[in-house]
C-alpha cells in the first residue's frame, strides 16, 4: 500500500533560524519524489519533519490524508533510510532487517521467514547471520533498505542514501533503487544534492534553496523550463546574462545586456523596465553569426577538449565566464584564445527570468 504525503504551509524554525519556510507540496501515492538542493538548504529537515523527529513550527504534515500532528515517529507509516544508514552494529544482518517486526511482537519463526524473503529481495541470500561490519558498502546499503521495507511502510524516506558509496557503485544502485521502488510500489521520497540522481530516478523533483521550495516539476521541465534564476543556475550548466527588459511582446522579451539587446522566451510575463536575467545553456550557444537579437561577440579565453565535445570559455560580463559547448562536428572553427568570437543562439532556447538569487558555483 502506498500513501501520498502532503505538506501544508510547513515551516520549521530552530530558535530564530528558519530552516524550512512555508513548504506546500502534494506528493502522490506511489510516486518517486526527490528533493534536490545544495547543502544546508533544509532537505533533511523536511524529511525529519515528515518522519516525525521534528515538529513543524507552523503548518501540517498529512500522510494518506491524515494529519500527523502529535503522532510520534514510531507511530507513522513511514520508514527512513538515514544518511549514514544507522544499521545496528551489534546485531546480525537478519536481526537488523527484522528489528521493526521484533518490536511489533512477531515470533522468532515469523521473523526468520520474513528475513529470508527480504534477503532474497536484496540479493543477499543466506547472509543473515553475518555481522554488519562484514558487509561491503553496497551490501550495507541494501540491508538498510530491507530493514526499512520489512515494516511495510507506506512511504519510504531516503536521505542521500548513496552519498557514501563509490562512484561506480552509485550508478549501479540508482537503477536498483528505482527497480525496487517499482516492485514494491510505495511512495519514495528521496533527498539528494546530486542532480544526476534526481533527474534519472524521479517522477518529480522539488528544487530547494535556503529553506524555500523554488519549483516542483518533472526532471525535464526542471531542466528545460526553470521558473526561477536559482533553478536555472542550479540544475545543469547555464549562462546568465543579467540586464533590464527593454521590451516584451507575446511570449518573448528583449533584454538589454552588456552584450547588447538579446531575445528570449518570457514565461514570467516580465514587463519593460524589469530587472531580469537571460539564461542560455552552453549546448544552445553556437559559434558563428546568427540573426540580430540573438548574436553577440566576446573574447575567447580558452578551450577544453573533452573528446565528444569541446567547452569554449569566453569572457562574460561579470566574474563568471560564458561557456559554449561545441559538438564534435560543430562546423565552425574555434577562434584562438584572445581573439573575439561571435556567438548566436535560437531565441526559443533563451529564457528571460526575473532577477533573483543564483546558485553558488
Amino acid at each position: 500500500m502506498s500513501a501520498g504525503v502532503e505538506l501544508d504551509g510547513v515551516t520549521v524554525r530552530f530558535g530564530n533560524f528558519t530552516a524550512v519556510n512555508n513548504a506546500n507540496l502534494n506528493i502522490k501515492g506511489g510516486e518517486f519524489f526527490s528533493f534536490l538542493g545544495p547543502s544546508g538548504c533544509g532537505k533533511t529537515t523536511i524529511l525529519r519533519t515528515v518522519s516525525g523527529f521534528l515538529d513543524p513550527s507552523a503548518g501540517h504534515v498529512r500522510i494518506g490524508g491524515q494529519d500527523m500532528a502529535g503522532i510520534g515517529p514510531n507511530k507513522r507509516p513511514t520508514a527512513l533510510i538515514f544518511q549514514n544508514l544507522a544499521l545496528f552494529p551489534l546485531m546480525s544482518v537478519a536481526d537488523n532487517i527484522t528489528y521493526g517486526l521484533r518490536v511489533r511482537g512477531l515470533s522468532r519463526a515469523d521473523r526468520d521467514k520474513r528475513a529470508t524473503e527480504l534477503l532474497e529481495l536484496i540479493a543477499l541470500p543466506g547472509q543473515g547471520q553475518k555481522l554488519v561490519s562484514e558487509l561491503s558498502g553496497g551490501q550495507k546499503q541494501r540491508v538498510a533498505i530491507a530493514r526499512a521495507l520489512a515494516v511495510e511502510p507506506q512511504v519510504l524516506l531516503l536521505d542521500e542514501p548513496l552519498s557514501a558509496l563509490d562512484l561506480k557503485l552509485r550508478q549501479h544502485m540508482r537503477n536498483e533503487l528505482r527497480a525496487i521502488q517499482q516492485r514494491v510500489g510505495i511512495t519514495f521520497i528521496y533527498i539528494t544534492h546530486d542532480q544526476g540522481e534526481a533527474l534519472t530516478m524521479s517522477d518529480r523533483i522539488a528544487v530547494m534553496s535556503d529553506g524555500v521550495i523554488e519549483q516542483v516539476a518533472d526532471g525535464k521541465s526542471v531542466y528545460d523550463s526553470p521558473e526561477t534564476a536559482f533553478v536555472a543556475s542550479f540544475v545543469g550548466e547555464n549562462n546568465p546574462f543579467p540586464g533590464k527588459v527593454a521590451s516584451a511582446s507575446g511570449d518573448s522579451a528583449i533584454i538589454e545586456t552588456p552584450f547588447g539587446k538579446l531575445r528570449g522566451l518570457n514565461p514570467k510575463k516580465l514587463k519593460a523596465g524589469d530587472n531580469a536575467i537571460l539564461f542560455v545553456r552552453p549546448e544552445s550557444l553556437k559559434l558563428g553569426k546568427g540573426p540580430d537579437g540573438s548574436t553577440f561577440a566576446t573574447p575567447v579565453l580558452n578551450a577544453a577538449f573533452e573528446g565528444n565535445m569541446t567547452h569554449v570559455f569566453m569572457k562574460g560580463a561579470g566574474k563568471k565566464n560564458i561557456t559554449v559547448t561545441v559538438g564534435r562536428h560543430g562546423g565552425t572553427a574555434i577562434p584562438a584564445s584572445g581573439e573575439n568570437g561571435t556567438v548566436h543562439y535560437d531565441p526559443a532556447l533563451g529564457l528571460v527570468l526575473p532577477e533573483g538569487k543564483m546558485a553558488r558555483e
Binding site: 524554525r13 530552530f14 521534528l54 513550527s57
Partner: protein, 334 residues
C-alpha cells in the same frame, strides 16, 4: 532538631532552581527537536533514572555533607540531650581549632598539624609531578604501541594491591631491620640503622608511592593527544628540549597537570594509612587528628568541624590549581 532540618532546605532550593531553569528554557521559544525527559525515556525508566540520581545526589552526597556541616555548629552533648535546650548553634568547635577550650592558650598543636599536612601534601604532589612527567611524556609521545601497553600493565598491576599492603611493603623496606638499612650497614655507610620511619621519610615515601598512578594517567592522557608535529616543528626551529617542554608540551598538558595535582593533593591530605603506619610516633597528621576525635574522644561535632576545615582546604587547593592553570573543572576531571 530544627537546625538540623536546615540541611534539608538547601537541596530543596537547588531542586527548585533546576526545575525553574528547565521551565524557563522550555519557554525560550519553540524548539522542534525538544522532547521532555519523560517522553524521551518512557515514564517507568524516566522515573527510575531520576529516582536513582536523586537518591545519589541527595542522600549520598549533598545531605551527608550538609548534615556534617550542621553538626559542626553544635555543641558536644550526650545523646539524651541532643535536640534539647542546650543544643544551640555555636561556633565553639571552630574556635577550638585556634584556641584550646580547656586552657585558653593558642592551639598550636592543631594549627601546626594542619599547616604541616597541607605543606607535606603539596610537596608530595610536586614531587610526584616531577617523577611522573618524564614517563608520561615518554609513553605518550615516543613509545611504540606495544611498549606502551606493557608499561601500562606494569603501572596498573601494583595498584591492585591495596593501600595498606603497599604501606606495609614500604615499611618492610625502611624498617630498622629492613632491606635498606641492612644494605647501608652492609656496605658500611652507617653502623647503626637509620630510623627512616621515626624521621618521617617513610611517610613521605608512602604518600608519594601511593599516588604515583593517580598522577601519571591524567598526564599521559593530556600529552597523548598533543600532535607530534608540533614538537617536531619546535625542534626544527632549533628549540632546546627544555624550551620545547616549557613552551609547547606543558601549556598543552595543563588540564592533565591540574587534574593530576588536584587528585594527588586531595588523596595525600586525606590519607590515613601512610601517616599511621609509616610516620614517626610524634607526627601529628591532621587527618589522624580528625580520626581520633571520632574514635578516641568521641567528639563528633569537633571532629566534623575539623573535617570541614580539611574539606575547605582541599576545595581551596582545587580552586587554586584551576586558577593557576586556567582550566575549567570539566576539563580537569574526565
Amino acid at each position: 532538631m530544627s537546625s538540623r532540618a536546615l540541611a534539608f532546605l538547601v537541596p530543596a532550593i537547588v531542586i527548585l532552581a533546576f526545575w525553574l531553569m528547565s521551565r524557563w528554557e522550555a519557554r525560550q521559544g519553540h524548539d522542534p527537536t525538544h522532547k521532555s525527559f519523560f517522553e524521551r525515556n518512557g515514564t517507568v525508566l524516566g522515573i527510575a533514572f531520576v529516582g536513582l540520581v536523586a537518591f545519589w545526589t541527595l542522600f549520598l552526597v549533598t545531605l551527608p555533607y550538609l548534615y556534617m556541616v550542621v553538626e559542626s555548629f553544635h555543641p558536644r552533648l550526650p545523646p539524651a540531650k541532643r535536640g534539647g535546650p542546650e543544643d544551640i548553634a555555636t561556633i565553639a568547635q571552630y574556635t577550638s581549632f585556634f584556641v584550646n577550650p580547656t586552657d585558653g592558650a593558642w592551639n598550636t598543636t592543631h594549627m601546626y598539624a594542619f599547616v604541616y599536612t597541607i605543606v607535606v601534601s603539596a610537596a608530595v604532589t610536586f614531587i610526584n609531578l616531577c617523577i611522573c612527567y618524564p614517563l608520561a611524556y615518554y609513553m605518550a609521545q615516543s613509545g611504540t604501541t606495544q611498549k606502551v601497553r606493557l608499561l601500562m600493565l606494569g603501572l596498573i598491576v601494583p595498584y591492585w594491591v591495596n593501600e595498606i599492603l603497599r604501606a606495609f611493603s614500604i615499611r618492610l623496606l625502611l624498617a630498622s631491620k629492613g632491606l635498606i638499612n641492612q644494605g647501608l650497614m652492609g656496605i658500611g655507610i652507617t653502623d647503626a640503622p637509620i630510623d627512616f620511619l621515626g624521621n618521617n621519610t617513610g611517610m613521605w615515601v608512602g604518600l608519594s608511592y601511593a599516588n604515583l598512578l593517580i598522577m601519571i594517567f591524567p598526564l599521559y592522557n593530556a600529552i597523548e593527544s598533543l600532535d607530534k608535529n608540533q614538537i617536531e616543528a619546535a625542534r626544527d626551529l632549533g628549540a632546546p628540549w627544555w624550551k620545547i617542554h616549557r613552551d609547547v608540551v606543558i601549556p598543552y598538558a595543563k588540564p592533565g597537570i591540574a587534574s593530576g595535582c588536584t587528585m594527588v593533593f586531595m588523596l595525600a591530605a586525606g590519607s590515613l594509612a601512610a601517616p599511621l603506619f609509616l610516620g614517626g610516633p610524634r607526627t601529628l597528621w591532621f587527618t589522624s587528628i580528625v580520626y581520633d576525635f571520632f574514635f578516641q574522644a568521641f567528639n563528633w561535632p569537633r571532629g566534623s568541624a575539623y573535617a570541614f576545615i580539611l574539606l575547605a582546604a582541599c576545595i581551596a587547593f582545587v580552586m587554586f590549581m584551576l586558577r593557576l592553570f586556567k582550566v575549567k573543572l570539566g576539563e580537569a576531571i574526565r
